[in-house]
Symmetry: C2
Subunit: 529 residues, 2 copies
């Protein structure tokens, strides 16, 4: 295997190279010596072990070399044309990507579907969003942060007496992106319909990436001209003077379409180009504009009260038909950004994966023997969770009780029975810390110590330990001395750990029926974060 040495070393996963708490690198690339080389490399047990010329050792799981491993999107950061589904209007003949607000806010899978649609198609519609002023900000906050602009945190789209922008008149508006004169441009727009009783005022969307891809196909030279000509976008009113120079079609470092800015209204004066260059730009611009107006590209629909459209403002062009000044039409909008939306989507995905993994552990390994007790590990933990729930414990303690022994999984339980402390409380807490906060993980981390603590301060406690538990007590270090017990009691989470410990001790009754792990899924979902 021929590997680039600096690349390989830069990805060393050891605790000295990466902060285990947050995964950030702890060294600078310039810290590495000149002429760094691999001195020795061995593959064993699914791991590539490398000894470096500076003496450092790295261990890489072989699966890490599988490219598809890390990059779940299969498409870099998911922002270029690669990984998008380019569309035309007919592709939505059977309906728009949409969901009910009530389902969206309660069911993670619905939220995943909506946010995925925004990433994949560039838009989605939420139905039944409460028709309350300012609600659009709450919609944005379900996946990200509102981006304030000169139009405010929130803007009202209705006819204004002295508009500073064509959007606030009753005129038709051709397909365009918003705020091209901003840099950074807001990458998402939300429009929430409160009223639409006027004639006209329908919405239209055009996939700007598709239009750009058509231009590239039909006239590659025009496409090239638009990607390499910086266009000055300008906006001016009494309190604002914005100017951004960006091409109409932005491509990434390797030429993939990444951003479309298209707004005829706010293109300022191109300067410093020759007449031939201006002619070429205007020919390409007119050709691209004509493509965006092709009827087969424009998806028309009408936003009704309670509908909230979320769309990608650096990909989709949006349009509006003219409407009667008389009829009442009122939308509220705001801007937000795609990066946070993608993060929310990734975290939701990761949580769904975690739930599945937890359920699998209960159903699979969990069916195994529990350190000599009469119950399986899964029964033991389910009983502990059920006991906590029955005791009216707060959510985080029910979860802590349910998952307190998860560190036993992974085939290491046997080691404990063979006389080694496998530190299962720490292993479990660390694993769970990827998904749960310290209110869940710390009682788990301390639940073994809590046993040693209780044995010290409650003589009657030790007497009731099971035989297996009395055995592991010795492995774990025996009862605490007075000083240790005082130090333990002072720890944050000590009281919670003691509570978890007591449910742990009671949860070994083979005669008790327990709910399945799926019973706890909604609770686990709520506690993520």
């Amino acid at each position: 295997m021929s590997l680039s040495p600096y690349w390989l070393r830069d990805n060393c996963p050891c605790d000295g190279c990466r902060d285990p708490r947050n995964g950030q690198k702890l060294f600078q690339i310039t810290d590495l010596p000149e002429d760094l080389a691999v001195v020795e490399s061995t593959e064993a047990g699914g791991v590539l072990e490398v000894v470096w010329s500076d003496g450092h050792r790295s261990r890489y799981p072989l699966e890490w070399f599988d490219e598809r491993g890390e990059d779940e999107q299969g498409a870099g950061d998911g922002r270029t044309e690669q990984g998008k589904r380019l569309w035309r209007a007919a592709d939505f003949a059977r309906g728009l990507p949409e969901a009910e607000w009530s389902a969206y806010v309660t069911e993670p899978a619905e939220q995943v579907a909506v946010l995925s649609a925004v990433r994949r198609f560039g838009f989605a519609v939420l139905r039944g969003v409460p028709e309350v002023e300012g609600q659009v900000l709450k919609v944005a906050e379900t996946f990200g942060y509102v981006r304030e602009t000169n139009y405010g945190k929130l803007f009202d789209v209705r006819v204004e007496a002295d508009p500073n922008n064509l959007a606030f008149t009753s005129a038709a508006i051709a397909p365009h992106t918003d705020n091209p004169y901003r840099d950074p441009v807001p990458t998402l727009q939300l429009l929430h319909c409160l009223r639409n009783e006027s004639d006209g005022g329908d919405s239209g969307l055009v996939d700007g990436f598709h239009a750009a891809a058509l231009l590239r196909e039909e006239s590659p030279e025009d496409f090239a001209v638009l990607t390499r000509t910086p266009v000055p976008f300008v906006f001016r009113d009494r309190a604002t003077e914005l100017r951004a120079e960006q091409p109409l079609i932005g491509v990434d470092a390797v030429g993939r379409i990444r951003e479309v800015r298209f707004n005829n209204r706010s293109i300022g004066t191109l300067r410093g180009l020759s007449t031939a260059e201006l002619d070429a730009f205007y020919a390409a611009y007119r050709r691209f504009a004509a493509i965006t107006l092709r009827p087969e590209l424009q998806l028309d629909f009408r936003l009704g009260p309670g509908d909230c459209l979320i769309f990608d403002n650096v990909r989709l062009l949006h349009a509006r038909t003219a409407f009667e000044q008389q009829g009442s039409r009122h939308l509220q909008g705001c801007y937000a950004d795609l990066d946070s939306l993608a993060s929310t989507l990734a975290v939701l995905g990761r949580r769904a994966t975690a739930l599945d993994a937890i359920e699998e552990l209960f159903d699979g390994e969990g069916a195994g023997e529990y350190l000599g007790e009469a119950v399986t590990m899964a029964q033991h933990m389910l009983q502990a969770g059920a006991l906590a729930e029955a005791a009216g414990a707060p959510d985080h303690l029910v979860v802590a009780a349910l998952l307190h022994d998860i560190g036993h999984f992974g085939g290491s339980s046997l080691e404990l029975m063979q006389g080694q402390d496998n530190r299962h409380s720490h292993t479990g807490a660390d694993w769970l810390a990827r998904w749960f906060g310290p209110e869940v993980t710390e009682p788990i981390r301390l639940h073994v110590a809590a046993k040693r603590y209780l044995c010290a301060v409650e003589p009657s406690y030790r007497a009731q330990l099971s035989e297996a538990s009395e055995y592991t007590l010795q492995v774990q270090g025996g009862p605490m001395d007075t000083e240790q017990a005082a130090a333990f009691a002072a720890l944050p989470g000590a009281a919670d750990a003691v509570a978890v410990r007591r449910w742990d001790d009671q949860a070994k009754d083979a005669a008790v029926a327990t709910p399945g792990v799926e019973h706890f899924r909604p609770l686990l979902s709520r506690l993520f974060g």
Copy 2:
């Protein structure tokens, strides 16, 4: 003169092509016919008049063809290396670009100096910023909008027990930009020092554009590699999973350095490149990183309590020396964006220009005859302003009184005396609307109508008009009839217009001394917006 026809037509300044209220274009580029051509063009009186093949006529002031006219920056949108002053540490041997907070918030010229420094050098320091938690948000709001991220609207930089980011530990941090894993990345960062009593914890800044320019000079091929290799930046914690693929050095469509992202800690795994490509990337990356560490590039200074550093996060790299965990160090930071900062700067510049223009009008043309009255136009308006001020009128009415006849300027007064209504009230109101709100412009717009109204409803009013004013009354349409008077009285601003009118009528006394126009400058400054 050979001009690109579509370019020329796209810039037609007529009211049919551009909304006069906001300057936005009212036509689509696709509305223009195929084979658009100039049929006839004539130059006269400083104007190029063009007749088009579709019958449209355009008039372009010749000065508009002067490239420097529109683009005041001389450098596009001012975001690339062009128009920046690239620096090394020694350039600030005599001091940093800085200002006192108290001056910054009260004197527009100080604010201009600070914001210009951020645009030109990439940073500035405010001193004496109140040492109050949350104050950094108020600093950001003086020129733009706070950009919320996963770190919150505001983040605290001090040692944390379980940090999700190295910034919240006491470790030294090498020069880097923040949030490279966001797209859009926040383009500005603010750091406000509340306490810094620890040993160490000094700040360092490096001009990343300069470092990139040095790389281009010393090793053009390495520079090219860094501009064309998308780098995955990643950040992950329990609630966040951000990923952005961008090159370390971003250039604009014509190759100018526009953005630097440099953060060794959060560079993820580059995938999909050959070993040779990875070797080339790492060689270039190491060379660039070494340049950023050159001591002559790093400007070191210490933030003390009350200091607030504002810096360009897509140009400057910032660093921190290690500090003692014991000593108390507390900074608060937030992110914002360069586009709004540039807008604020442009508007401040425009207002300063407007103030100068107004003062010049008073001093220049204002010294001319005022329609047959005994006072000059300037004396007349200054008297009106002083009368309003003496009457304790609100600011907007003092300004309206001071500027009510500004529409007479520009050489058109004579036309009025020759028997034409030059609609000076409208001309003045429209001109002033570029800077003032309707509370100032509407009373001015209505002040001629107010005379006709008062003549209708107050017989004694007409009796006291000056001879010249009685003459112009006829030109302006004579007294209103009953219906007109009722309609006028119902207009918003009518009462204010009547008040302005009365000061107008009284302000014709050659014997009265008036303050100079500079007396009103602070008031005019306050009223802009």
